[in-house]
């Protein structure tokens, strides 16, 4: 290595030689290259993560640093019916939205994988709901779900299916269904396009071979498509579950947790208590309570990746 740097600089001084030695050392160079990213992430991600856990054990309020109060916040929350309702809502929201997103997304991916005219055009417009800022599309949904001028109510009444307007966001059951529907609308494109990419890596010859062996359409899907798609399904759905579980924007726009807390998710409750209510400690404790769920999802993702490695015969 010293020879090669000498070729660039004919008369190396001690300083430049030690510099070039440093530049040739993988670890020193790696450290230097990692520095900007590591600094940003340590200061604005790792430290706040720790600070959040610490805040959960204090009675901090906005404008006043708290003192350590042990697990009092968690004791308070464990007796708080609204908190448990928000946990239930979050699980209901995540599970039902994820299942439907997966089913519809997979279906759309299978359709888009057919030999279609204007294929890339369809792929492009299908992604639109995912590209547009969630808050802005949620505002459109707010207007679609308007209690008086809802276009859905109007259309159903015109078709004669209902005889009075649906109170989409004012009734607990309807409000839950409405926010889940809006979440599915936004999530389908991501699932569909990533699964489509997975589908396209499956060699056509496998289908031809299976067809020659007399496989039915369902068997083709069950024994060729699904096993080969499993790794990418695992990863896509983990991401989808993580982002649905921590969703904030849709609820904040559509219902702010109402009616009677029926749509409060843990993230929105944390915002309401921590920022709007000023109880930083309690808000942080609610946020920390989300971590075990997230860890479970990440472990699931980890085993999904392991499975993928195994299928490819090890290595990365």
């Amino acid at each position: 290595m010293a020879v090669s740097s000498a070729a660039v600089q004919p008369r190396p001084s001690i300083l430049s030689r030690s510099l070039s030695l440093l530049a040739d050392s993988r670890n020193a160079l790696g450290f230097g290259f990692m520095l900007p990213a590591a600094a940003l992430l340590l200061v604005f991600l790792t430290y706040p993560l720790g600070l959040g856990i610490w805040l959960g054990f204090t009675d901090a309020r906005i404008g006043r640093p708290g003192i350590f109060i042990g697990i009092e916040n968690y004791q308070y929350l464990s007796d708080d019916a609204v908190f448990w309702l928000s946990v239930f809502n979050t699980l209901l929201y995540t599970i039902s939205a994820s299942i439907l997103k997966f089913a519809l997304g997979l279906w759309l991916a299978l359709i888009l994988n057919q030999n279609l005219p204007f294929k890339s055009f369809f792929r492009a417009i299908v992604l639109l709901p995912w590209v547009v800022p969630t808050v802005l599309s949620a505002i459109a949904f707010w207007w679609i779900y308007d209690s008086q001028f809802s276009i859905l109510s109007w259309a159903l009444m015109e078709m004669g299916l209902i005889d009075h307007r649906i109170n989409f966001l004012g009734d607990p059951v309807n409000a839950r269904a409405s926010v889940i529907a809006a979440n599915i609308w936004r999530g389908i494109p991501f699932v569909a396009i990533t699964l489509l990419a997975g589908l396209q890596t499956i060699p056509q010859s496998l289908y031809e071979a299976a067809t020659l062996d007399g496989a039915s359409r369902w068997q083709l899907f069950r024994f060729v498509t699904l096993p080969l798609l499993t790794p990418i399904i695992a990863i896509t759905m983990t991401f989808s579950v993580l982002f649905t579980f921590t969703d904030f924007q849709l609820i904040y726009v559509l219902t702010r947790g109402g009616p009677v807390n029926a749509t409060h998710l843990m993230a929105t409750l944390s915002f309401q208590r921590g920022i709007s209510g000023g109880q930083l400690g309690e808000g942080a404790a609610i946020a920390v309570a989300m971590i075990p769920f997230l860890l479970a999802a990440i472990l699931f993702s980890y085993f999904g990746l392991q499975r993928r490695k195994w299928q490819q015969g090890g290595g990365d």
Partner: protein, 297 residues
Amino acid sequence: MATIKKTKRPELDEGGMGYLQSLPRRVVTVYLPLLVFVIVLLFPFYWMTITAIKPNLEMTDYANFNPLWVVHPTFEHIRYLLFDTSYPGWLLNTIIISTAATFLSLLAAVFAAYAIERLRFSGARQVGLAIFLAYLVPPSILFIPLSVMVFNLGLYDTPFALILTYPTFLVPFCTWLLMGYFRSIPFELEECALIDGASRWQILTKIVLPLSVPGLISAGIFAFTLSWNEFIYALTFIQSSENKTVPVGVLTELVRSDVYEWGALMAGALIGSLPVVVLYSFFVEHYVSSMTGAVKE
């Protein structure tokens, strides 16, 4: 040679067994569901657009006007939005913040991705995994401690609060995406350069970066779109109306408690969506391929 290449192209291969399907069957199993999907996925955009150009009279009178159409289109809502509200200011704020956060994140991510993927310093694999885990940490659990930090650092209600916090989700994402891209650049190119006496810096700037322009573009678009769409940090860290970004401004300033100005709201949502839609439509192929690449890894 040309014929061999042709048969290898996937789009010719895909129709392989298509002849086994009859046309009526295809209509029922493919075209009809696709039509329903497209209508459902696009309807909110249509509804947004048509509301933005509808006079208030037509908007609330469903008995005399079909709500799905507009009889007398008007630009009144858009004019109101652009000249009587702070909307242009929010648009400018969003552009400045998104651009700055994107550049900052890309710069950090390029070095980090190159170091992890190519320098292979000791512990590079662990650092790569840590970056991946960092991407999984959601803003919903960080915004409270970050708001405390932002306040203590004196950044509250300034654009810097957002420029410095957006990289928490942009850097991991861009690094991960670029790592996948760098992996596709042949090692031999770098080895040749090393033998010719190039330094690591020269390799990065003269060989790796020019070859990864498409990857940089897609990482940049992703980062820009993610910052443009960000909501919870912008809602928490910004208070004064003139410093808000588009998503927060539209929601908190255009919605008044008693009267909803639906026309202006929809116009605001539409115009706020346009930049990312336009950006993405130019690079849709990059977008799709790199998204799938990023997820596959």
